[in-house]
């Protein structure tokens, strides 16, 4: 589904490369965890996949089902099924959650040649999701993330993901700033969305989230490259040993 080959990227107005030749292949139904120390390029990877313009790709390729993702605008990527759950969800005063989601959903449906969803059908669609995520109805009428607590913001991201039903979900440090209850709610929401034709890339600093969202693959990102890949047990090893031993190992082979 997603192919990343030799990806090099940097912040647009900066010379320093952050991603230095990253390669990754994700198939439908798989859950990939990307772990790594601060500054290793985890968020850059997530943002580059979603098309954030503050990052510039200097080399390499990213394709989704064979199509060049890097050529697409962020909204086109969303129409193809890419979804980024933000590390810091953005507050948009004056725009209600419901309005925002309906605009997003209908834009995608339109782009894919489907009929737009009318207000009634849309409300029915989102009320089901509200229930499964343990959200309250008042969150729907409130402005997008405005005045939300950290936990509410993250739950709202997962809620949006549930409503938009993307094919490739990228979670950028969704666990940061969450207490254990909120973490479980978020993980429950993600697990409910796991399906054979949907893939996840879970970017995280800590292993904790992976107790609840069990990955098929764990990759360690260091200094802009994936330096080690393995199964879910790799996450436990990292939790026990930290990243230091890997740095030494990578340093030795470099």
């Amino acid at each position: 589904m997603l192919q990343i080959a030799n990806l090099h990227a940097k912040v647009a107005e900066d010379e320093r490369e952050i991603l230095k030749g990253l390669t990754l292949s994700v198939k439908p139904g798989e859950v990939h965890a990307i772990m790594g120390p601060n500054g290793s390029g985890k968020s850059t990877l997530a943002n580059v996949i979603a098309g954030r313009e503050t990052y510039e790709v200097t080399d390499g390729a990213v394709t989704l089902d064979g199509e060049d993702l890097l050529e697409m605008e962020p909204d086109e990527r969303a129409h193809k099924g890419v979804f980024l759950a933000f590390q810091y969800p953005v507050e948009i005063p004056g725009v209600s959650n419901t309005y925002f989601l309906r605009a997003a959903l209908n834009a995608r449906r339109k782009a894919n040649g489907e009929d737009e969803m009318d207000a009634l059908a849309f409300m029915k669609h989102i009320r089901e999701k509200v229930k499964t995520l343990g959200l309250t109805d008042d969150m729907l009428s409130r402005s997008v993330n405005e005045g939300f607590s950290g936990g509410e913001k993250k739950r709202n991201e997962i809620f949006q993901m549930a409503v938009l039903e993307p094919r490739l979900c990228v979670l950028d440090e969704t666990d940061s700033g969450l207490d254990i209850d909120a973490l479980q709610t978020v993980a429950h929401g993600v697990n409910a969305l796991r399906s054979p034709d949907r893939a996840f890339i879970v970017v995280t600093h800590y292993q904790r989230l992976l107790n609840f969202i069990v990955p098929d693959f764990v990759h360690v990102l260091m200094d802009g490259r994936l330096v080690k890949s393995g199964g879910k047990e790799l996450a436990l090893e990292l939790e026990a040993k930290g990243y230091g031993w890997l740095e030494a190992e990578v340093g030795a082979t470099a």
């Binding site: 962020p74 909204d75 969303a78 969800p89 004056g94 997003a104 834009a107 949006q160 938009l164």
Partner: protein, 445 residues
């Protein structure tokens, strides 16, 4: 060095017409008009060397020869605005009260709407008391005098208006009162005049909408005077949505008595060159005032708003929020004066004006101006100029909202803080739709 243009400007046709026709009516009207004509002649047409007109050149206005406006047609090319099927609608065509299009038979005993010309001719006592008398007065303050601003175009209106509307509100009016001003006729100048008097304890919602019909340049220089008596409550929305060739220079004055509330909204979408001078004179204690504005200018539009709020009595609150969207090569000017007179202790006045620049060639000139002569008051003001932020835009796009729509939604959200305060739902939604139209986004159903 003169700060006024020579008298041989494109306005002399209107002035001469005013001089010729100002000799009818009761003695008080004749002297009011004669004094106004003298004042206008003395003030002339200001140039940008005049402090109050520094950012708004009138060259394009006076280059043309304007004719005193003729009566308009009975049918129009466009549909006239209507926000509510159940509203009381009054239509003024080329400044004249249109009996066919207006509702004149009051459904309730709480209001009367009539031709201002008729009211003047019949020497209506309320009109005699208030016409030309609304707005700031001179007061003494520590070591100086606080004087009203001079308004050359308001004087011109007083000297030349043909007709207008006298709206008398004496009780609680539930229906929305819609006043529609239509201007049509290339090269013609119009002086609509509106006097609204809300008696003690009266309550109403009013919307005044200025539009043009058909092609051609028109020059409208309206004056609206509003009297809000003790304990009365008025919501007054002013919508200027004239055609791109139109010139619109308006004066809008309000006097508030004790315990009254006045919520005013100045919505500026249209005209090529527009200027509104709004003044509110707080002439009683415990008043509440809102003085809000939404400006959306694109193309080569030039929109200038000067507001002046005079706290003349103690214990009153005022809030002013202006949201200004400037695109393309447009220019927007804002000047917000607040005078807190010496007697006005315990005044609480808050002014905010924000501008969103959507293009590198758009211009905003913003000037808050607080003058405080009392010592126990709370006055704040803040002005910001910004652009659309990248992050919210990316956030929306990453969810699939196309760029144009995401931008429009964010711009709308910027203005919504003010539009959301308009209590009539149909009116608010119409103004929102119009804003989206101006921003070039079709939101569908």
């Amino acid at each position: 060095m003169s700060t006024v243009l020579s008298p041989a400007t494109g306005l002399s046709g209107i002035v001469d017409h005013g001089a010729a026709s100002g000799s009818s009516g009761a003695p008080w009207v004749r002297s009011l008009r004669a004094a106004a004509l003298d004042a206008h002649r003395e003030l002339g047409v200001p140039t940008t060397r005049h402090e109050e007109w520094k950012y708004t050149p009138l060259r394009r206005l006076v280059e043309r020869d304007w004719a005193a406006g003729e009566p308009g047609p009975a049918v129009f090319q466009r549909e006239l605005p209507r926000y509510d099927e159940g509203s009381i609608r009054i239509v003024l065509v080329n400044g004249r009260f249109d009996r066919n299009l207006s509702e004149t038979e009051a459904r309730s005993p709480h209001w009367v709407a009539r031709s201002l010309r008729d009211a003047v001719t019949e020497d209506d006592a309320v009109v005699r008391e208030w016409l030309g008398q609304v707005g700031p007065k001179t007061t003494q303050a520590v070591g100086r005098e606080i004087t009203p601003d001079s308004h050359t175009f308001a004087e011109l209106n007083t000297a030349t208006f043909e007709d207008g509307l006298f709206l008398h509100i004496t009780g609680d009016v539930a229906a929305l009162i819609e006043i529609v001003h239509v201007a049509t006729g290339d090269g013609q100048a119009f002086a609509p005049r509106v006097l609204v008097v809300a008696e003690e304890g009266a309550r109403a919602r009013i919307v005044e909408t200025y539009v043009t019909d058909g092609e051609g340049a028109t020059f409208t220089y309206p004056v609206t005077e509003v009297v809000v008596k003790e304990g009365a409550n008025l919501e007054h929305v002013r919508v200027q949505d004239e055609g791109a060739e139109a010139f619109h220079i308006a004066n809008w004055q309000t006097t508030q008595a004790a315990g009254s509330e006045y919520h005013s909204f100045n919505v500026c979408y249209g005209a090529g060159l527009a200027r509104v001078d709004q003044g509110i004179w707080l002439d009683g204690q415990a008043t509440v005032t809102r003085l809000d504005g939404v400006v959306c200018a694109g193309g080569d539009q030039h929109i200038d708003n000067h507001t002046r709020l005079d706290h003349a009595q103690p214990n009153s609150n005022s809030f002013e929020v202006y949201k200004q969207i400037v695109d393309d090569r447009a220019t927007v000017v804002f000047n917000g004066k607040i005078f807190v007179h010496q007697d006005a202790q315990k005044t609480d006045a808050k002014q905010t004006n924000q501008a969103l620049l959507l293009s590198p060639t758009a211009t905003i000139d913003s000037k808050p101006q607080l003058e405080i002569f009392a010592d126990d008051v709370k006055c704040t003001h803040g002005a910001t100029v910004g652009q659309l932020e990248d992050l919210p835009l990316f956030y929306m796009r990453s969810r699939g909202v196309p760029k144009d729509q995401a931008e429009a939604v964010l711009v709308y959200a910027f203005a919504a803080e003010v539009l959301e305060l308009i209590t009539h739902v149909g009116l608010r939604q119409a103004l929102e739709r119009r804003l989206y139209e101006k921003l070039g986004v079709d939101l569908g159903a």
